[in-house]
Structures are given as C-alpha cells and as structure tokens.
C-alpha cells in the first residue's frame, strides 16, 4: 500500500512539474530554449543522470506569439547507428527548420555508457558473493538444468 501511495505521489509531482514547465515556456520572451528528451533505457543505474521521464517532448503545439522564435532539441530518433537527435526551430506556431544533429563522439557520458561493459570477477568469487540475478552461459538445455547455477537462483525465489 505504501508503495502505491509513493507511486501516486511521484506521478502527481511529475504531472505538476509538467504543467509548471509549460507555464514557464509560454511566458518566456524570444530566447532559445533547449529541451532534451532522454530515453530512459539502456543505462545501467550507476552513473546515469537521466532526468525523470516527466521531461516532456516539446512539439510545435507549444503556445507562443508570432514574434517568438525558439530552437528546441528533442524527438530522439533511433537509427541502426544509435540514437540521433533532431533539432527543431519554431517561429510562432510554425516549424521553420528541422535539423538532424550529429551525435557527438565523446559526448554525454550517460549515453556512451548506455551499454554496460562486463567486469571480470576474480577466480575466487563464487556466484553467491557476486550477488547475481541471472546467469548467461552457452545455452543451457533442460537436461542439464537441475544441476545448474541458474536453477539454484530460480529456486531462491527472493
């Protein structure tokens, strides 16, 4: 029950953040606004500074006067070479330019490290002390399963 309350509160604060963000956008004078939509995937927990998924994807529907020109970065597109960000320039309510940004090599570290690298463990570390959740090995078959490490993990149940 407590977990559900906390989830509700956090969702509520996310919604509040969302609305307060849009308010500040509409009252801003003609300046450049940069909003980055972070994809909440692929990152191992350790050093990620991914903002919460409450950060909105900005579209051309944001209210503004006709004299306001804004450049907005967002709408990340997944390509086979990795994520690519699209930069959109908006004048008033009209998109005047769309540009695909080069993904900078050596850029944001939370993106570069989005795919974790395996860390070797010393010979003396057993599975128990490694605190693992799942075992990856060259295809377990059902025949060998009962004596396997994975089976020991599956039975722990917690």
């Amino acid at each position: 029950m407590k977990r559900i309350v906390l989830w509700f509160v956090s969702t509520l604060s996310a919604v509040v953040l969302l609305f307060s963000y849009r308010t500040s956008l509409s009252s801003a004078p003609a300046t450049t606004t940069s909003v980055t939509t972070e994809k909440p995937v692929g990152s191992s927990a350790a050093t990620s500074t991914t903002p919460s998924s409450a950060t909105p994807t900005t579209t051309a529907a944001a209210p503004a006067t006709s004299s306001t020109t804004r450049t907005v970065t967002g709408s990340e597109v997944e390509t086979r070479y990795g994520p690519v960000e699209v930069q959109v320039t908006v004048a008033g309510r009209k998109i005047t330019a769309v540009q695909v940004l080069e993904y900078p090599s050596g850029g944001r570290s939370d993106r570069i490290n989005a795919i974790a690298v395996p860390e070797l463990v010393s010979e003396t570390v057993g599975a128990q002390s490694a605190r693992i959740d799942m075992v990856s090995g060259a295809t377990y078959t059902s025949n060998g399963y009962t004596s396997s490490l994975q089976s020991a993990l599956d039975q722990v149940g917690l």
Binding site: R3, W7, V9, S10, S13, A14, P40, V41, G42, S43, S44, A45, A46, S48, T50, S52, A54, R80, Y81, G82, Y103, S105, G106, I112, A114, I115, A116, V117, P118, E119, L120, V121, E123, V125, A127, A130, I132, D133, M134, V135, S136, G137, A138, T139, Y140, T141, S142, N143, G144, Y145, S148, L149, Q150, S151, L153, D154, Q155, V156, G157, L158
Partner: protein, 263 residues
C-alpha cells in the same frame, strides 16, 4: 521524483518453464511481479515460445522450417514470421562477413536449414513484449542463458547478470549490470559444437565462449553466434559493431573484454 524510495532489494518473483528443450527463467520486480496479471503475462510468454517452437524447431520433422528445408513447402505457405527470421538471418550473414549462416552442414555433406542462431534471441525478445505491458514492473527473461531485461525507474537496482565460466559452469567469470538491454552467450558448452563458420566451412575452436551485450536480444544472440564463428577475428569484429559490448573467453583460458564503440 522519489526514485530513491524504491529499495534496491525489492522482492524478486521467480518463474521457470521448459520450452524448446530449454529452461526459460523469469525474474520480476515491482507492482505486478507476484500478482495475477504478472502470472498471466508469464503464461503468454510461454505460449508464444511454444508457438515459435512449433514453427521453427529443427527437431520436429513437421515444423514449417523442417518442411521448408526439405523443399516440401514454399515460403509462401509458411507463417509470415518465417520470412522475418530468414531475412534477419540473411542480414546476419552479410554483417558477419559470412561467418554466421542459417545453413548447417550435416555429416553427409548436405545442408540443413537451421536458423536457430537467430530464432532463440528473436523469439525471446518477442515473447518479452507480453511482460513489457505490465506497468511499473521490471523483468529479466532468460531463455537458456540468453536474456532480455527491462528496468523502468532510473534509480532502481539493475539486473546483475553473471557470465558463466565455460570451463566450470558452477563459476562466474564476469558480471554485467543491465538496466534495460540484452545479454547472449555463445559457446561450445552445454549443447556441444553446433556452431559453424560459414566462411571456412569449419567448426570454430578458438573461443570457449563469447558474451555480447546489446539493446536487442535478437542481435545480441546473432552477434554472439557470429563472434564465436569468427574465432580470432571476433574481437575486432565486435569492436566495430555499434552499441555492443562483450567478453570473450578464449580456449586457452584468457579473457578479453570489448567495450561498446561510441557511435
């Protein structure tokens, strides 16, 4: 956001079933980990994998893939997913410089259509979609040691994946923490020498096992199989694959880690 209130040791629900002659292990954390919707999603995962087995198992003479391989039916007679898998296999062949092949030579010299190097990862990733619809629930779904994981909260503990020592299945050689992503391992253990180097027509023997980490399990599986087949060329090949990292255990016991390329 109160992400820090999610304790790193949330209880983990465990489920196991046997499909395709493989143990399918599921670990779940979060709202639906233990309840009826979670269990229903797990049942759908198993059904999906059983359906894939009916279509693709080379051990079933009546599967679509077996009949197709013997020329008894046409591709048009097969479910659409067969085409999808074969197309993936062709792309894998090209990108692996021919090392990965969905044609396996039998003892008598004939070739048997065997896309199992593609099917396992592809099917497991598809089946995991039934878990993805569970709100606020994290999962790690493993089919015989190849797995796909999802973690929703940025602050939650990732899934810790142990990479088995190919010389001693009771030991762990490396650990990789995965929030959302996939891990697949290829090697000669457990199922014997079933991988074939499509370039040279030989059974690779330089690598004991290779583990690939990627966003997609279909591609982690393909790349692990391809890397195993590539043998000595595997590290260089893996390093130029976008968004993959991994670890190789050579037949002589040395290990080599591959970090993901930046672009």
């Amino acid at each position: 956001m109160s992400s820090t209130t999610l304790a790193p040791d949330r209880p983990t629900a465990r489920y196991v079933a046997h499909v395709m002659n493989m143990p399918i292990s599921l670990a779940m954390r979060g709202i639906h980990a233990f309840d009826a919707p979670g269990q229903r999603a797990w049942q759908r995962v198993i059904e999906e994998l059983r359906e894939v087995d009916r279509i693709f198992s080379t051990y079933r003479p009546d599967s679509s893939i077996s009949q197709l391989g013997r020329g008894e039916i046409q591709l048009g007679d097969c479910p659409a997913v067969v085409r999808e898998v074969l197309a993936l296999g062709e792309r894998a062949r090209i990108e692996s410089l021919g090392a990965f092949s969905i044609w396996r030579p039998l003892a008598d010299g004939t070739l048997r259509l065997d896309p199992s190097g593609v099917v396992k990862g592809w099917a497991t990733q598809r089946a995991a979609q039934h878990l993805a619809v569970l709100a606020h629930t994290d999962y790690c779904l493993s089919a015989g040691g190849d797995m796909t994981c999802r973690t929703l909260e940025p602050g939650a503990a990732p899934w810790r994946i142990g990479i088995e020592d190919p010389f001693d299945p009771a030991r762990i050689r490396a650990v990789v923490p995965i929030g959302t992503g996939a891990v697949a391992t290829s090697g000669g253990a457990h199922r014997g020498a079933h991988i074939y180097d499509g370039r040279r027509g030989t059974t690779p023997d330089r690598i004991a096992s290779v583990t690939v980490v990627a966003e997609s399990l279909a591609w982690a599986d393909i790349d692990a199989t391809a890397a195993f087949a590539l043998g000595l060329d595997a590290p260089d090949w893996l390093r130029q694959r976008p968004g993959r990292s991994g670890v190789l255990v050579w037949a002589d016991g040395r290990t080599e880690t591959v970090a993901a390329s930046g672009s």
